[in-house]
């Protein structure tokens, strides 16, 4: 049985949607998956809408096209809901995750009648309480792992801890804040 999960990220230049896509590919690779993480490039400017993609599978990935019928969509900035058709092609048995200060009931009417599952998270609050700075990548990464069920939460946290330990060997305080952000994001997404 060939299983493939396809994820599309929407963000604005400078918010780190591309980095989030590459981080997800990284952690999936570390858990033994075949991965493809790539951005769609144009004349990027800070604040302009950008798209990035992940393919995660248990077999080698050969297709090199963009993703048109994703299983999951992650939106890093809810102001995009007014300008970008974020649910385009999104499978109805999939789900969309949106970073927003708004409540889920306020978001649903903005999704062009999408019938699948909708999840929201206030990544800003998670960041300010755990990191003291707004880096939406970290909570969005945990949230998409939870929403997609791509990997076990405990295994994901163990993997993140070991890779962050390596990355921030000289800054243990950064490791702790990031781990708290991941754990809090698991609780906050709904």
């Amino acid at each position: 049985m060939r299983t493939l999960t396809e994820i599309r990220w929407h963000g604005r230049g400078g918010q780190g949607a591309k980095t989030a896509a590459l981080l997800l590919a990284d952690v999936a690779f570390n858990m033994g998956k075949h991965v493809q993480g790539f951005p769609e490039y144009g004349p990027e400017r800070m604040g302009a809408p950008i798209t990035a993609y992940d393919r995660i599978s248990d077999y080698p990935i050969r297709v090199h096209s963009n993703i048109y019928e994703p299983d999951f969509v992650a939106v890093v900035d809810d102001t995009l809901l007014h300008t970008v058709d974020v649910t385009m092609g999104l499978k109805e048995d999939g789900a969309i995750l949106i970073n927003t200060l708004k409540k889920k009931e306020e978001i649903i009417p903005l999704l062009n009648g999408y019938k699948g599952k909708v999840f929201v998270i206030d990544a800003r609050r998670v960041c300010m309480e755990t990191l003291g700075k707004y880096f939406p990548n970290t909570p969005m990464l945990a949230a998409i792992v939870k929403v997609s069920g791509l990997m076990e939460e405990d295994a994901f946290l163990r993997e993140m801890e070991s890779s962050l330990k390596h990355k921030f060997a000289k800054k243990p305080e950064v490791l702790e804040g990031n781990m708290r952000a991941l754990k809090m994001a698991f609780q906050e997404v709904y």
Binding site: F29, V35, Q36, F38, P39, Y41, V63, H64, S65
Partner: protein
């Protein structure tokens, strides 16, 4: 022991460059190849390699500096894309005619205009007749493997020609994918040290590089250079066999994917070939005898071998990621069609332009091509007179 990792195509070739540790790298940044000199600079700063990095003010200068370094006897490389490659145009010929085994990482990108940064083969295809060997990759793995084989081909005594190692801008250069790397030691043993026979810094031999040649010698020099490109064919296959022995990965002039019994074949270059393979597998399940010929080596052009592998097909689509602006089609289409004529092939042949300026190609786009080939074999041409796929407007003239 093979090392399982994940990285982008640019990281993959930078990793290969670290393992090779060449002597000199002059470079000028241009999207999407900029990361390559950037990674190499970091490796130098970190003391991982002792390559001499020469920052220059243009690509004409990076290639000129590469020519100087290579003529002096140094193992030399550079990297570029698009307009950067076009700016090198004059000196590309100088590198090849002086028989300098320079390696260049080409991250394929559209030429202007309109100005665009995305994948297209017009840059390296524009330089197809400048005397450089050209090897193309489908993914990060092949870009890495081709880089490791480059100097062995270029520096071979019967070749001594520069080589372009090409991959598709962004589609593979910036996509993180799984890759299997070799350990440093077997790579170093495989690539070996560069020991040129003649070079400018050799104390006991005076020589000139790049002087004027009068008419009674110049034509002989050019014929000798052409012979080197002919000789490169055997060397490319020999190096591939040796590379297979250390990596387990097999390479040739091209890859035949389910082609042996195929009735309908697509011929293409680069990252689109993975997407085509996916389409082929799907069509085979439905009983359609689809196949792919993926071109790896474009210079020297293995026309005879490709034609032999394709001759049995009822219909063939030759796909160019490059507009020929000649009112007929692209360069792969022109050259392969000529090669098919020489083997007296009776297959229907169509030359299709696709993927210009990063236009995405989906599995369903490829299926449409195979469907068209089936019809073409039955005498119905639905491709039109000047076939494009993925074009948004049907009114091409507007």
């Amino acid at each position: 022991m093979a090392i399982k990792d994940r990285m982008s195509g640019n990281e993959a070739v930078a990793h290969a460059i670290r393992q090779i540790n060449p002597d000199v790298m002059p470079a000028f940044p241009i999207t999407p190849s900029t990361e390559i000199p950037q990674y190499v600079s970091s490796m130098i700063a970190n003391g991982e390699i002792d390559t001499e990095f020469i920052p220059v003010e243009s690509e004409h200068s990076s290639m000129s500096a590469a020519i100087g370094a290579s003529a002096a006897g140094a193992r030399t490389l550079t990297a570029t894309s698009s307009c950067g490659l076009a700016l090198m145009w004059e000196v590309l010929y100088v590198a090849a005619s002086n028989r300098l085994p320079i390696m260049m990482e080409v991250v394929n990108r559209a030429l202007s205009g309109p100005i665009n940064i995305n994948a297209e083969h017009s840059d390296s295809m524009g330089a197809r007749d400048c005397g450089w060997i050209q090897i193309y990759a489908e993914n990060n793995q092949e870009a890495y493997d081709n880089t490791l084989q480059a100097y062995r081909i270029a520096e071979h005594a019967s070749v001594k020609l520069p080589v372009m190692i090409c991959q598709d801008g962004f589609i593979t250069s910036h996509a993180v994918e799984n890759i299997t790397l070799l350990e440093d030691e077997p790579v170093k043993r495989f690539v070996g040290t560069y020991e040129p026979e003649h070079y400018l810094l050799r104390e006991d031999e005076s020589m000139a590089v790049g002087p004027y040649a009068v008419s009674c010698y110049c034509m002989e020099a050019k014929r000798a250079q052409a012979q080197a490109m002919i000789n490169a064919k055997d060397v490319i296959l020999q190096v591939a066999r040796e590379f297979e022995a250390i990596s387990g990965r097999s390479y040739g002039f091209f890859e035949e994917y389910r082609l042996e019994d195929a009735e309908y074949a697509i011929v293409a270059i680069g990252s689109v070939c993975g997407t085509i393979k996916e389409a082929v597998d799907g069509l085979r399940e439905k009983g359609c005898k689809a196949g792919l010929l993926k071109v790896r080596v474009f210079r020297p052009f293995p026309g005879e071998e490709m034609a032999a592998a394709l001759k049995h097909c009822k219909a063939i689509a030759i796909m160019d990621r490059c507009e020929g602006y000649n009112s007929v089609g692209g360069p792969l289409g022109a050259e392969l069609t000529a090669a098919l004529y020489r083997v007296k092939a009776v297959s229907e042949v169509v030359n299709i332009t696709y993927g210009l300026s990063g236009r995405d190609v989906k599995v369903s786009d490829v299926e449409v091509v195979y469907d068209g080939l089936e019809k073409l074999a039955q005498g119905e041409n639905c491709f039109g007179e000047y076939p494009y796929i993925g074009l948004r407007s049907a009114d091409r003239a507007e």
